[in-house]
């Protein structure tokens, strides 16, 4: 299978939200960007910059104001099984057990038989290491395990692209590290295209093939960084000790800090006007 360079394509994408006071807020400036098949792309940027909105437009959960998102050559018109999403919280169903939650990812697939679905669900259950907890209800397992359930369930649905919206944001540092390694391990097996948002610059550099740094609102691409050109393909925790890792980390951090300080300037200006 040849990897397509423009597997996901943003074409002059913009998004304007209407506030309750009737004023329009431009969240995404005309955005042109291509993501190749199999790429792991991390979106970073100051908080509230619109990176999540961009991702949600890929997922079909937000409609672009103008422009298009193309997935595999076809415009995205709404949510579907092709665009799997992992949220930061609340996404596993408490009324189902761990295994049934994963099985739910296959519920609307018509390309596999019921027996196949059971087999696939068990497969992903084992891949994320939750086999001993298959009959546990969601409220009985930890936050890290819940995110593993969500990831397994999304992969079981066999999407074209995996969208992860700050999936490890609510976890403690050690759990986050373990899940990052698991995710990289999964990627070696699955080769899915992934878009991932995070506030954690270390996480971004550690996971990414490529980092897109967004500006403060309205989101614009500040910098497109090819991480894979500078870091080894197979990442382990030792990677974080490499000079290249530190340099990338510093670079991304500097870009975001600079944007954050500009936000502060704007805030001061707004205050002084009043």
């Amino acid at each position: 299978m040849a990897d397509r360079a423009d597997f996901i394509e943003f074409r002059e994408l913009t998004k304007v939200f209407q506030q309750e006071n009737g004023r329009d807020v431009k969240v995404v400036d005309p955005l042109d960007l291509s993501i190749a098949e199999g790429e792991f792309v991390v979106f970073v940027g100051p908080s509230g910059c619109g990176k999540t909105t961009v991702m949600r437009m890929v997922g079909g959960l937000e409609t672009p104001t103008t422009g298009d998102v193309l997935l595999d050559g076809r415009p995205v018109t709404g949510p579907s099984r092709e665009k799997g999403m992992v949220f930061q919280s609340y996404s596993s169903f408490p009324w189902l057990t761990v295994l049934s939650n994963i099985r739910f990812g296959l519920r609307y697939r018509r390309d596999v038989t019921e027996a196949e679905k059971d087999r696939i669900a068990r497969h992903y259950l084992e891949i994320v290491g939750l086999a001993p907890f298959s009959d546990f209800y969601i409220n009985r397992i930890s936050g890290g395990m819940r995110q593993r359930v969500a990831i397994a369930r999304t992969l079981a649905a066999d999407p074209l692209v995996l969208l992860m919206d700050e999936p490890f944001g609510a976890l403690d540092a050690l759990t986050r590290e373990r899940l990052q390694l698991q995710l990289l391990g999964l990627r070696r097996v699955e080769r899915k295209t992934v878009i991932f948002t995070t506030h954690d610059v270390d996480e971004a550099v550690f996971l990414a093939d490529r980092i897109i740094v967004f500006s403060a609102r309205p989101a614009r691409v500040l910098k497109d960084i090819e991480v894979r050109a500078e870091l080894p393909k197979d990442r382990s925790l030792e990677v974080t000790e490499l000079p290249a890792f530190r340099r990338l980390r510093r670079e991304v951090l500097a870009l975001i800090r600079n944007e954050e300080s500009m936000i502060e300037t704007t805030e001061r200006e707004i205050l002084s006007e009043q």
Partner: protein
């Protein structure tokens, strides 16, 4: 490890831990306390018996009603009316409430109408139900239905609205849409709250039952209660109130028990 507080201290701690047995014991003690005070008042003749008969007189009146009259039948009739009207409300309120919350158009159409009816005092509608439906069973059931449906449908719409958006979006990104989304995600997610809403409305249903039976009936607990009043048989009036209270307490506890059993996954 934190040392466990003993049961009594826990009960008075702010949001203390559950002590189920002790709590049930206290609930029973509350009843015993009220009955004891009541008994004391009547024994000391502080209030005349035609206003406040002794607990013993009420129990013996209840016993006599149960053994020598058709009171059991009245109870059965009342329970039947409540459940007929309640089930009719439930069957209609669940789909309509869910649709109201899922589709803005349906909500925009239905909410103002429902709010209008909801604020009408049910007794004000008694004459109308009598004119339309006569004094048969249907007018009483219609009255109870009016009293519960319009409340319940809004509660259910709220329950549906409170389902976290992440559940819905997860369902959609896994391929669920329209009816499967409601059936497989929204409904199971809202079910625990829905059962609570049903429990609360069932209580209201009993309130309106007594109104309906007092105004236009020749059977049922409310009718017996009203008849007893007319002949000044206060112990029987109390016996009627006691019956309703016991039925209410029992059905509430049964639904709570089912809730705990069905939704064990929430704990």
């Amino acid at each position: 490890m934190q040392r466990q507080r003993d049961g009594w201290r826990e009960l008075l701690a702010f949001r203390g831990l559950a002590r189920p047995r002790l709590e049930i014991g206290i609930g029973i003690a509350a009843f015993i306390f009220v009955i004891a005070v009541w008994d004391l008042i009547t024994r000391l003749d502080l209030i005349k018996p035609q206003f406040l008969p002794s607990p013993g007189a009420v129990v013996s009146a209840l016993y006599t009603m149960l053994t020598t009259t058709d009171y059991i039948q009245d109870i059965a009739i009342s329970i039947g009316r409540v459940w007929a009207a309640f089930l009719a409300s439930v069957v209609m309120a669940i789909p309509i409430g869910i649709l109201m919350s899922c589709y803005r158009g349906v909500g925009a159409f239905a909410v103002p109408l429902i709010d209008f009816v909801r604020y009408l005092p049910v007794p004000a509608l008694v004459p109308l139900t009598l004119i339309w439906l006569g004094i048969g069973e249907s007018s009483k059931i219609a009255l109870l239905w009016i009293g519960t449906f319009f409340q319940l449908v809004l509660l259910i719409a709220d329950d549906a609205r409170r389902v976290p958006i992440e559940f819905i979006e997860t369902g959609r990104t896994l391929g669920a849409r329209q009816f499967p989304l409601i059936k497989d995600v929204l409904f199971p997610a809202m079910l625990p709250n829905l059962v609570d809403s049903l429990r609360i409305t069932l209580g209201w249903c009993w309130t309106y039952l007594i109104v309906a039976e007092i105004v236009a009936a020749n059977s049922g607990i409310g009718y017996e209660l009203w008849t007893a009043r007319r002949y000044g048989r206060t112990p029987e009036v109390f016996a009627g109130i006691l019956t309703i209270g016991i039925i209410g307490l029992l059905s509430d506890q049964i639904i709570r028990g089912l809730h705990r059993r069905w939704f064990r996954y929430l704990s």
